[in-house]
């Protein structure tokens, strides 16, 4: 293969090489001509364009989408806000400008300088958000004193009610450096959803910014618009929340601390999701002052925390609903199985007490649920063992995020043998199973997990990823449904569920009912109380609940289901330091269900 070419052959190939070079040359001639055309023929034109950097692209911000409730009531719209902007290339001395401006408005020197640095050469940067009328007038009258400064209309959020839905809607804030680095078209000073729907649905809400290419004069004024790309308004988000119901819950809750969730167990859509104390979204418009922010985050009651999804507590006796089902489904008990409650259970020398010191005597599962007997469920737990219990709990979604479309959801915890080994390098003790059987010990769950657990039990085994959004309204017309995802399908024995529902009904309505405070007259409901200990209350054992300091009182749960004959909704209430479930949370659920009836969600027939 490395033989040299004969002269004849060589000549032919050399000719071809020369042809190739001629082709190269011709192509290069085009380059030379083009270079000549740009640099010599059109020099004046391009020189002028370059001297003042006269071709600029200006952004046309897209209007943010609205947020509506399930009936189309506008919860969040926009209103104009007047902002003060500076154009980087047109400002000669930023310090002097800031100094002059600070006599009129409260300019944050450091932030403005940071924004200035992050801005493209001829780009605009935000100096102040939310000018008032006097400030606008002054600036317009004296605008020649502030070269490179302009007033721009931007939109900010306006809330029909700035308090009762704060945790769901979420607040807006300025983009962080991280957001800018991700480079999704945000510019320094832009507002972005920071929590709740505003954050989770940011990409839908924000729309697509437009732009216009303009030619400006040497002072930066637009003299010619060259082309325009129109912005696309953000989509509207339609919540599954009923504003009227949400508002009613706010007044039912009054000064209590805690949360309520109302979940449609057939669709996985949330009808109300309330957390107290709430915070005022208006405080974030047009921007939150340091004073306001400090007062929110230093508030001991943590108003920013969405207690329905971010706070996990032992569910207490509410867990007995699931325990009953596991016991029946695993055949360790049946409807007639009886255990004797003497007020406590002796296990290897330790005494595990029932809430009723005197004991319940001999009782069946039905009575154990109605009277919330602890000893009965200790026995069920010992028969099942922790492995079975945690397997079921996991399948029903306890101790794991539900995946709800809101921010900062917490896992909570449901213990297992492996978990304990990993966490404490220690084996699981049967005593811990006893405590877990009544929803205490290591177990902590969020109210939304309890709601999902109950809904999967009562709807035939569909474990939903709950959602607060019905769908997205694109361009104000096309509606894209937000389908609820089914995470897991469980095989449920409906006979057992019927039995449990019957017991839950009696828990509210029978003679010894622990949940009688949740009674509703117009419709039949079922429910279960739960009490989660904060501290061992031995110290206060002789005292009346009202005499115990607030922060040492038990947390109070109540999980309700309505209508009990054919469940459609679960209502879970959690009251922080509300005392027993019976006293604190049960009346809340009763009142919420009354409202559900009034609003026509539940038929009274």
């Amino acid at each position: 293969m490395f033989k040299a070419l004969s002269d004849l052959v060589n000549n032919v190939y050399n000719k071809r090489l020369i042809y190739f070079f001629i082709v190269f040359l011709l192509f290069f001639a085009v380059l030379f001509l083009r270079l000549f055309y740009l640099q010599i023929v059109n020099y004046e034109k391009y020189k002028l364009l370059s001297e003042n950097n006269r071709i600029r692209i200006m952004r046309i911000k897209a209007d943010r989408g609205f947020i509506k409730d399930r009936y189309g009531k506008f919860l969040v719209v926009n209103r104009p806000s007047f902002n003060l902007l500076g154009t980087k290339s047109d400002i000669k001395n930023l310090d002097i400008i800031i100094q002059k401006l600070s006599q009129l408005i409260d300019v944050d020197n450091k932030t403005v300088k940071k924004r200035y640095k992050q801005t493209y050469y001829y780009g605009d940067f935000l100096i102040y958000r939310g000018l008032n009328e006097n400030q606008i007038n002054y600036l317009l009258e004296h605008h020649e004193q502030f070269p490179g400064i302009k007033i721009d209309v931007d939109s900010v959020r306006e809330y029909s009610d700035s308090k009762v839905l704060s945790h769901v809607i979420g607040y807006m804030g300025e983009v962080t450096e991280d957001d800018l680095k991700k480079n999704k078209g945000y510019q320094t000073g832009d507002l972005i959803g920071k929590s709740g729907i505003e954050k989770v649905y940011e990409d839908f809400l924000r729309g697509i910014d437009g732009a216009k290419q303009v030619e400006v004069d040497s002072l930066g004024f637009v003299i010619k618009e060259m082309s325009v790309k129109k912005p696309v308004k953000g989509s509207n988000v339609v919540l599954s929340i009923d504003y009227d119901l949400q508002k009613a819950i706010n007044s039912i809750f009054k000064d209590k601390v805690g949360g309520v969730v109302v979940l449609n167990i057939r669709t996985g859509k949330i009808l109300a999701l309330y957390s107290a104390p709430t915070f005022d979204l208006n405080k974030f418009v047009p921007f939150i002052t340091k004073k306001d922010w400090d007062s929110i985050i230093h508030n001991k009651l943590k108003p920013l925390t969405n207690r329905v999804i971010e706070d996990a507590y032992p569910p207490g006796s509410v867990f007995k609903i699931l325990m009953s089902y596991i016991g029946l489904n695993e055949n360790v008990i049946n409807y007639n199985t009886k255990f004797f409650c003497s007020g406590s259970l002796d296990f290897h020398g330790y005494k595990y007490g029932c809430w009723k010191k005197g004991g319940h005597g001999n009782l069946t599962l039905h009575d154990a649920i109605v009277q919330s007997c602890d000893v009965y469920f200790y026995n069920v737990g010992l028969l099942l063992g922790i492995d079975k219990i945690s397997e079921y709990a996991f399948n029903f979604g306890l101790g794991k995020k539900t995946g709800i479309d809101l921010t900062n959801e917490k896992d909570g915890l449901f213990p297992s043998r492996e978990w304990k080994q990993k966490r404490f390098h220690a084996p699981w003790y049967p005593g811990e199973t006893i405590i877990a059987s009544i929803g205490q010990g290591y177990i902590s769950t969020t109210p939304i997990q309890i709601a999902v657990m109950l809904s999967s039990l009562f709807n035939g085994g569909n474990v939903f990823k709950p959602t607060v959004v019905l769908g997205i309204e694109k361009n104000g017309e096309e509606f894209i449904e937000n389908k609820t995802e089914i995470v897991r399908k469980l095989n449920i024995n409906n006979q057992y569920v019927k039995f449990i529902l019957n017991a839950l009904y009696d828990t509210v309505y029978s003679k010894h009912a622990t949940g009688y405070r949740a009674r509703v007259s117009k419709v039949k409901i079922g429910g279960k109380t739960g009490t989660a200990q904060v501290v061992s209350l031995k110290k206060f054992k002789d005292k009346d609940e009202n005499e115990i300091p607030w922060r040492f009182r038990d947390h109070s749960w109540f999980a309700g289901v309505v209508p009990v004959s054919n469940p459609e909704y679960v209502v879970v209430a959690f009251v922080e330091h509300g005392g027993s479930g019976s006293k604190g949370a049960a009346p809340v659920v009763g009142a919420v269900i009354n409202k559900l009836v009034d609003l026509g969600y539940v038929s009274t027939k």
């Binding site: 052959v9 190939y13 071809r16 090489l17 190739f20 270079l35 740009l38 034109k45 020189k47 082309s227």
Partner: protein
């Protein structure tokens, strides 16, 4: 492998070496200028890194000059198989960046194998297309040669890196043309291409389609690629005859130009050194092409001729596409300017190829059996 004697040094091609060094030095100065930020008054370290790359490039150039290119050609099939394996590895385990899987991490360096493998491809094509008689490629011939093109094309196309994949096709096409084709072959090929075009179009990614549309109709995207071209044209045009002077290119320094140290380096050179500078640089490239073709003519050994031709064709292609793009007569594609744009992979690849060409010049009078 090396086979060097004193006679060889006599034929060391100083002109080729000098042109390459001159162009690369212009590149260093341009990158130095591009590294300068007028707002902060500071330099970034691109030019320092490029100097290190150039040093490595010179060493590679010399190394490949010393190695007997025939040794490489002889083993090019093995190198080709190895390249396919590497490209497959990139697809499976490569570093994912900007939505594409083109890179591989070796000892802390991020390498783009499809760049280096161009060297292997040229050696391999030289072996496949070398012939000692006057031939015209028939359809069957072309079809046979396609067998080697398809796997390497697909592997790079899937990264996805259509631009680089097409360079491989282009080099292959040059090989076919060098072999010589009859008129009717050209005619039928054109028909096939026209029929295949819509099919190919449907397989393009959205951004690739967008680029073509943008080029055919710049009005469609005045805010993306279209904007860069406008700014680049302003930079070049405002340079005028003599330019604004070194480090004085306002347009490029004020961050109007994106990628000004890589894809748009030519705009900066034209802005700061004007028509004189731009035309000089293009002339240097032309001189380089001329020298390489001259070496191709000098050697009588077919694979040597092909390597030199394909190297010239590659340099021509990259220079032309890059310059034409900055001047708005070609779509914006990410092809760097040879020896000038910032970046190690491209520089090392081109230095290797020019080193091989020098090796051909060195051994042009070797007796071959």
């Amino acid at each position: 492998m090396f086979q060097l004697n004193r006679k060889h040094f006599k034929y060391f091609d100083y002109i080729l070496t000098l042109i390459v060094l001159t162009i690369a030095t212009i590149g260093i100065f341009a990158i130095y200028s591009a590294s300068f930020d007028l707002n902060s008054g500071k330099f970034s370290s691109f030019y320092l890194k490029q100097m290190i790359w150039l040093f490595a490039g010179i060493l590679t150039y010399l190394l490949f000059t010393i190695i007997n290119y025939r040794f490489l050609v002889k083993h090019s099939f093995l190198l080709y198989l190895l390249s396919l394996a590497i490209l497959l590895l990139v697809l499976i385990k490569g570093h994912i960046g900007m939505g594409a899987q083109r890179w591989i991490n070796i000892a802390g360096f991020r390498l783009q194998p499809s760049e280096f493998i161009k060297v292997v491809w040229i050696l391999f094509l030289a072996k496949q297309f070398a012939t000692n008689k006057i031939e015209y490629a028939t359809f069957l011939d072309i079809f046979k040669k396609l067998i080697y093109l398809i796997p390497i094309f697909l592997l790079i196309f899937l990264e996805p890196d259509l631009g680089t994949a097409l360079v491989y096709v282009y080099l292959w096409g040059i090989g076919v043309l060098y072999l010589g084709v009859k008129r009717y072959t050209v005619f039928i090929t054109l028909i096939i291409i026209i029929i295949a075009l819509p099919v190919g179009w449907n397989h393009l990614k959205d951004y690739q389609k967008k680029r073509v549309i943008t080029f055919l109709n710049p009005e469609k995207d005045p805010f993306g690629a279209g904007y860069h071209v406008i700014q680049s044209k302003i930079a070049i045009g405002s340079g005028g005859l003599k330019g604004k002077g070194f480090l004085k290119g306002t347009q490029s320094h004020l961050k109007f130009l994106p990628e000004r140290h890589t894809d748009f380096i030519f705009s900066l050179i034209c802005e700061e050194f004007g028509f004189i500078g731009g035309a000089t640089l293009l002339s240097l490239f032309l001189l380089l092409l001329m020298r390489i073709i001259y070496i191709a003519i000098l050697t009588k050994e077919p694979s040597g001729k092909l390597i030199a031709l394909l190297t010239a064709a590659l340099i021509f292609f990259q220079t032309y596409v890059n310059a034409a793009m900055t001047m708005g007569i070609m779509p914006v594609v990410g092809i760097p300017m040879p020896f000038v744009s910032y970046g190690g992979s491209s520089l090392i690849t081109l230095c290797s190829l020019c080193g091989i060409v020098n090796s051909i010049a060195l051994r042009r009078y070797d007796i071959v059996s």
